[in-house]
Symmetry: C2
Subunit: 388 residues, 2 copies
């Protein structure tokens, strides 16, 4: 009996200090091949580690205030071998940008793959949550994500787009497909929707389950400067402040390039555009002022202006609700419940549009903030509604 209670006591002590917790952690799927850290525990705690023997102070810095890892900087502790580590409390599932602050210097984690965000190749950690299945690579037919270079007349520069073609595309050489133009956010680029967003797996899975129509998805970079103007860095996710000719690139160059190189249904009834954050703002601007080109519209966590005058906004697109409803097949807004600064204005816009008789859909992603998990869910909800 004495022995038993000792064990029980020790057990409680161990548990309190975390020593007796079975280490069921696994390397994050976002790590480079074979890297042991970051590690994700089954209760969604995450352990980060970096070797920096000469450092005096090392911190974990989640990218942005809305980051599901929590607010930074988070202090890390030094071990005798010069490694610094920290285990977070359980985090919000999804993809989170991060980096380390080594004596104040922002440093990427050499154990992480890189993900273009915050205007640099950031580290990122993928924390698989309960609903990770919908964006996982699964045993279903897979489409290709094609890297495509083209020369823009507008910018007089070469640009790269990524083009998702559905799994059946190559097997149906006469069939034509509708197109979704899908944009990233500020500080990110044309790689975001496949690398961070898993857009290809989301579409593969939806199409395999017959929940979405097979479609082409075009992912471009939301930056464009006039000829002779050097592109500024997208600093700290807050845009460049430069005049952008991205709208002209889409309308004059990109659509024509896609329609001439891929088997598209090249009309407004089969052309959608959506984007996240900055890309959502670009989507509203481009689609609502070019309704001859687009008829399906998605705004994911966009920075919407309050107090919009529905008579004059976007060139008067909303001025005649009946005409708008007839013309636009889908106007869709999404935001996460964890990102109040995007959710509130989106909800206000949704309500004022509804009040004015303009048909639109509003989706709230439960528990997620201004991060990729929100936008993955947005795509899962939005894509099935397209081209019906």
């Amino acid at each position: 009996m004495i022995t038993m209670s000792r064990i029980a006591l020790l057990s409680i002590l161990f548990w309190s200090f975390g020593w007796a917790q079975a280490d069921d952690s696994v390397p994050a799927p976002s790590n480079v091949r074979g890297a042991e850290y970051p590690r994700v525990h089954s209760d969604l705690r995450v352990t980060f580690r970096i070797k920096a023997p000469g450092a005096k102070n090392v911190q974990l810095q989640p990218g942005g205030d809305d980051n599901g890892l929590g607010k930074g900087p988070i202090e890390m502790a030094r071990a005798d071998d010069g490694t610094w580590s920290v285990t977070t409390p359980p985090v919000i599932p999804g993809f989170h940008y991060y980096w380390f602050l080594v004596d104040g210097l922002a440093v990427g984690d050499p154990a992480s793959e890189t993900y273009f965000g915050w205007a640099k190749e950031s580290s990122g950690v993928e924390v698989p949550g309960p609903d990770a299945d919908f964006y996982a690579v699964k045993e279903v037919p897979h489409g290709d994500v094609r890297s495509r270079w083209y020369f823009s007349k507008t910018t007089q520069k070469w640009r790269r787009a990524f083009v998702y073609t559905p799994a059946e595309y190559d097997r149906n050489p006469r069939k034509r497909y509708p197109v979704l133009y899908l944009q990233h956010g500020s500080g990110e680029d044309e790689r975001g929707w496949s690398n961070q967003g898993h857009a290809n797996f989301i579409l593969d899975n939806l199409i395999a389950e017959d929940k979405a129509k097979p479609m082409i998805v075009v992912m471009e970079q939301g930056y464009a400067t006039p000829p002779g103007v050097v592109q500024a860095t997208a600093t700290q996710g807050r845009g460049t402040g430069q005049p952008s000719v991205f709208e002209q690139v889409v309308v004059d160059d990109l659509i024509a390039m896609i329609d001439s190189n891929y088997r598209t249904l090249a009309d407004r009834d089969h052309r959608a555009m959506a984007g996240l954050s900055m890309g959502g703002g670009q989507t509203l601007q481009i689609t609502l002022t070019h309704m001859d080109k687009f008829s399906w519209i998605g705004s994911f966590s966009s920075p919407l202006r309050g107090g919009l005058d529905l008579k004059t906004a976007y060139g008067g697109a909303f001025a005649d609700p009946a005409a708008f409803n007839k013309k636009i097949h889908l106007l869709w807004f999404g935001a996460g419940t964890g990102e109040e600064r995007m959710l509130k204005p989106a909800l206000a816009m949704h309500e004022s549009l509804e009040k004015a008789g303009i048909r639109n859909v509003f989706y709230q992603s439960p528990g997620t903030a201004h991060e990729w998990h929100t936008w993955r869910r947005d795509l899962r909800e939005f894509a099935p509604l397209l081209f019906r």
Copy 2:
């Protein structure tokens, strides 16, 4: 006259100290969008810069001994604003891995794109040289580089391959194409040949000039472990030391996946394999022991064993020279004149094969070392010989 000579004198002084050199430098094309540094000067000097106000010592570390930037670490100098910089002497043109050592800690350059090499996402600098045209993006028809996921029966894991389809591929839905399997080196991965190597632009340009036949190029990762074995990190470019099942992946899984998803000419006469460094060694091993599957072979800067017994090597592939010459359409070796440790054994092998009556081609890349510029040139020389 006095004024003139003063100016001349000052001019000489300025020139000697580098003050009067017009700064004709431009941001390296390998930088992230809008980043000003690294900058490449017209005489091929390169200026690196990083802001690290709290650091006591910052050095530039080229990746590897053969690096065209020179031998590291290279000391950088601190300016009052906390930026550290160095301008190298003129460097060898091409692509060079690098990182910074900030008080001894290896740190990526936030201004650089990342390139998977040295088993991590390394920084890299592209220094355009006199022959940069052949791998440049030009106004010619462009093929797509497709990212393709597939499940490997051998490893019981998902794998990603990149597949280049030539520009004409989608326009000829009945035409079938030969295939080149093209492998990266140790510490790199399936992204290397397009990101670092510009293989797609090299092929686009060769095909547009009618110098190479339109072909499919498959770029896979040269790592594979048996089911249940966790892939180790490819440490410092020296391989993992783990037993590899890559040969089985290629022979049993990859070829079948490619042949069933792309319009290939699915026989040995239309199947080539080449690789660089570790990938070249894998190529020789796989092709020479599977001559029923491959008939075109390229070894770029491979770590070749000296004193090969031609009777028994590679399962006796060379034992009957006449039979070998009849069966294999091309056996091709390449190395740079700046990488003696790869050049000498390759040259020895070339000569001993020739002496034994085995037809093979040897190419030396002038002035380049164990780096991507050598391998870009290898591909430029090798691809035109294929499938003739």
